[in-house]
Amino acid sequence: MSEKPFVELNNINKSFPGVKALTDVTINFYRGKVHVLLGENGAGKSTIIKVISGVYQADEGILKVDGQEEVFMNTRQSLAKGISVIHQELSVIPDLTVAENIFLGREPKIGKSGLIDKPKMNLDAKKLLESIGVKINPKEYIRKLNNGDKQMVEIARAISQNSSMVIMDEPTSSLSEHEVQALFRVINKLKSENVAIIYISHKLKEIAEIGDHITILRDGNVVKTVSLSEITESEMIALMVGRKMTQFYYKAENAIQNEVVLEVKNYTKAGQFEDVSFQLKKGEILGIAGLVGAGRTEVMRAVFGADKVDSGECIVFGQPVKFKSPKEAIKMGIGLIPEDRRNQGLLLEKSVKENTSLSSIYANSKKGFIDFRWEIDSTLDYIEKMRTKTPSERAIVKNLSGGNQQKVVIAKWLLAKAKILIMDEPTRGIDVNAKAEIYALMKKFVEDGGSIIVVSSELPEVIGVSNRIMIMREGKVSGILDAAEATEKDIMKYASIHAGN
């Protein structure tokens, strides 16, 4: 590697309120090489991309592009230096044509008239698509393309801007095997044209196939940067998860009783999950691990009656149920704490009081008239019990911190007398102290006879709080482990997509 790197990160540090996202990150990215970033969710991959592309600015450290020190204030500035990002959520516009998408904002004009030169645009698009070896009609509307072709259009757009670096964030997460091979051909073509590529993926087999270098990240630190020929899959997993367990998890060891409170049998929904079966006992915390997109959230929403299933059975407290709405699930004592707290868990513009009482206000009303005394008293009661930091019960929840917002969501379900809590990423975006408090609340809940299903992408958390861990991979249950014996390595083995599986 005598050649000079295209992009250099030197001791980059980046913090967000309550979280250190990147610590002393130093990586060099070279032209004509595919550089893989690997790490668990929250390890810092996305933050690195955002620092390079100018979405965020580093707090400390130096970013050099082509040997020149740069501070990009936005993506336009990084684009001007030849850095394009292809995001996981495709950002092509469905109701424009392929050519219109590729040249969006840079349409060729007829002379100085301001009118778009459509024939030229279509011809340029055609040449461009041919140059990366894909056959897509430039006049076709994006909404008629499959995901693989949409991805190709994004890549075509990236290289049409004469990019020297293309960053791909989980480009294959929605592609079929066939489409993945087409993508790899394009990537190899880009390599041969001396483009630097940053490639993010959880799929170890793919990484081994396409990558030249790999940087493994953990908790915002670079664990190791190495050539891919010098590392095995199991070494990658070990480096990715090899963290010491911290001691703030509160496991309720003796709460489990024999009664099965929830049983799901063969739950299937086309394109989302298949043949999912599990049991939840009284006093148990069942962890659900897996990669983002493995279908965990979808299964939980279905159990809660928020979405329909194609087939399968659900038995709650010994009673077969088919919930048509969350209302019915709530009546049976189930509560859902959604992954997206701000858009699904809370009425952000409403007060702590209104949010806390929302699911139980009718049951405690006087013939439909709100019992305001009850509402204030019970809200204050939970604010005190859960040590929620809020100026008053009338404070707007939008203004509370993430941890305190989550306490309001939990209080809502406790007040509604939920017996089974489904918690989807309950500590996402929450600082360490608030996390510990939420774990303590979970322990208390099961000790009082409740049961919890906790979906989490943080392995130490799943292992730390659960009694058993169910692992999902591509919509299916790939394993159920006893948490006392499970290691992060075991879980990653079941969660990752390997060769041969």
Partner: protein, 321 residues
């Protein structure tokens, strides 16, 4: 927190009650500068003038709070008025009680039915409220023309005019009806679970659903309520005019939306309520009345109304944070 100064307190109050201050200033200006505005008779006029709009705007408040809109209210009002007029013609000697029954029945049946269809298409079939009620606006108006052959229905019994023209003691029946409906709406929106659910649905449908609220039912209900109140406004109008005609209440949907928006109820739902709508109604009522007394032509009144609506909402939108 506790040692807020008096000025701070006032500015906080002002920020939260822009419309109230706006209304007070407007009222004082009218008192000082508009001759004859302060007469008891004139103030009663203001109330009578806003009463029809008040009934429609009350229903509109429910709909807008749930993050919807109802453009069909004017047409629904016309259709209900025609239904009531046609029905009462069958009883030339009707007494007040019979007239009242006919009036209420027409409002509830015609308005309720139109609201039912709005609710059905919006809540069950996911048609955007703007489109569904735009369609109903056309259908109801068209039915009104078809039914009357575009000729007003005249010659109604005198008792039919009781609601629109008569008084109980010194207070006109229209005003009593308006106060009653507003009071009921206020109680529903602020004191009942149903009201709370309307706010929740308007704030965030997904959160409402995941919290166990039957979002479909709530949406259905608000359009039913809005339809019935539009129907009521229509029959009161027919009673007042002593006829039923297809052109009645044209453009009333916009007056109602203006009153709700001007009061400060969020057009994207979840925030606002009857108090705000009352402010909006009074601001519009006072401006119209004052300009009339000043001899401003109705063309200019329309322009003034447009400017003031815009001003009020600009102030309201930019006070946040």
């Amino acid at each position: 927190m506790k040692e807020k100064t008096a000025t701070n307190k006032f500015s906080a109050f002002a920020r939260e009650n822009t419309m109230l201050l706006f209304l007070i200033v407007l009222f004082l200006l009218a008192l000082v500068f508009v001759p004859r505005f302060a007469n008891a008779g004139n103030l009663k006029n203001v109330l009578i003038q806003i009463s029809i709009n008040a009934l429609i705007a009350t229903g509109m408040t429910f709909v807008i709070l749930s993050d919807g809109i109802d453009l069909s209210v004017g047409s629904v009002a016309a259709l209900s008025g025609i239904a009531a007029a046609a029905l009462i013609k069958l009883f030339p000697d009707a007494n007040i009680l019979l007239s009242m029954i006919v009036i209420l029945a027409s409002a509830v049946l015609v308005g309720g039915l139109c609201g039912f269809f709005n609710g059905f298409f919006i809540a069950k079939l996911n048609v955007p409220p703007f489109i569904a009620t735009l369609a109903m606006m056309n259908v109801a108006r068209g039915l009104a023309y078809v039914f009357t052959d575009a000729k007003p229905i005249f010659g109604l019994p005198e008792s039919f005019g009781w609601v629109g023209l008569r008084s109980v003691g010194v207070i006109p029946v229209t005003i009593i009806l308006m106060v009653l409906i507003i009071a009921i709406a206020y109680v529903i929106l602020s004191k009942t679970c149903f009201g709370r659910y309307i706010y929740a649905v308007g704030s965030n449908k997904e959160v409402a659903k995941l919290s166990g609220i039957n979002v479909t039912k709530i949406k259905f209900m608000v359009y039913m309520i809005c339809g019935i109140l539009a129907g009521l406004a229509g029959v009161v109008l027919a009673s007042k005019l002593q006829n039923g005609q297809a052109t009645a209440a044209t453009g009333y949907e916009l007056n109602a939306i203006a009153a709700v928006a001007m009061g400060g109820t969020s057009m994207s739902g979840g925030r606002g309520g009857m108090i705000q709508t009352i402010f909006g109604l009074f601001v519009i009522g006072i401006i119209n009345n004052a300009l009339s007394l000043l001899g401003v032509s109705s063309y200019w009144q329309t322009i003034a109304m447009g400017v003031i609506i815009l001003m009020a909402v600009v102030i309201d939108q930019n006070k946040k944070d």
